[in-house]
Symmetry: C2
Subunit: 194 residues, 2 copies
């Protein structure tokens, strides 16, 4: 990829993130790349949805977008296929020991529920920065909490009891498919729990 002269993306990133531990999105992307090159799964982050208004064409090869706006995403950020199953999830960070429900759009929750209803595997990955812990919570367990509580956030304890902790490793960094193995593919076969 080419960046404008003087811009060193890697260097910028190192500065930006060095003081606040890992970067969830980067680590999930590198995990997905690991899955891809090792023929384990094919899971991608969707591009950021952008509403393009004006494009400048200085020449045929280089179209430059000069006016665009961020759009609200209609789905979650990540989806793909693992062991023949459709996988769909959203990844979020939180600074406190509670995961605020408004961190996830309502339509993303609806989307994950639809995926589950249609036979896919839907979940959220939440990184609690304060304690440096990452959890995977299935959409079913998320619903369970929301329907039985009036809180506007889910405490980390609920993730500890009803979710699964993802250990941070060197490679792949955030091995969430290992968790899905214990939940959906016990003994190497594809089997549903409920």
């Amino acid at each position: 990829m080419r960046y404008p002269s003087g811009v060193n993306k890697t260097f910028n990133k190192e500065i930006k993130y060095s003081n606040r531990g890992m970067n969830l999105e980067d680590d999930i992307n590198s995990t997905n790349e690991y899955y891809l090159v090792n023929n384990i799964a094919c899971i991608y982050k969707k591009p950021t949805p952008v509403n393009i208004v004006k494009v400048d064409y200085p020449n045929r090869q280089n179209a430059k977008i000069i006016e665009a706006y961020f759009k609200t995403p209609s789905t979650t950020d990540y989806n793909g296929i693992y062991k023949g199953r459709y996988i769909d999830f959203e990844a979020k960070e939180t600074a406190t020991l509670n995961f605020p429900l408004n961190n996830i759009h309502d339509h993303q929750i609806k989307h994950l529920n639809l995926i589950y209803k249609m036979g896919g595997i839907g979940f959220i990955i939440v990184y609690f920065k304060k304690v440096n812990e990452i959890y995977l919570l299935e959409i079913q367990q998320f619903n369970e909490y929301v329907s039985s509580h009036t809180n506007k956030s889910i405490p980390i304890e609920y993730f500890k009891t009803n979710g699964k902790k993802i250990e941070y490793k060197y490679n792949p960094r955030i091995d969430y498919l290992k968790i899905l193995d214990t939940l959906y593919f016990k003994g190497g076969k594809n089997e549903e729990e409920d």
Copy 2:
């Protein structure tokens, strides 16, 4: 949706497309919307991948992207879930009666093959504008042609024989899942052909 006063979107669309037949992308998007609202399938077009360089923040609510560039997509445009199966495809138009192979990126073909290998359903949809016909061609049949021919394009006859014609309807416009039903879900069950 609100439009500026005096703008009738439907009317504009009619003017815009009346002379050049249907618009493949719009029609597939509206087909996917039909599938979604009728709880048939959950299939989305991925946003156009854009490399965002500069963003202007006139105020907190309105971020305006003022410098961005188009990126080469790493995957196909459409994916989702239908009857529990992972679905993945690319849609293309061609003005002639031959579909040029360079209309599809190599990595998109590799992606579709990987999806197939992993147990998903991968295909291309091609709209031949000249004769106003739309075909679905599975990635397996696409490979079959490429491996046994040196041509740089696939003639429409190959689509007629080895693909499936999608009839253009009022609603849903391009009912490609009906084709998948005949190929993968005969008799209502989920069964593989090969």
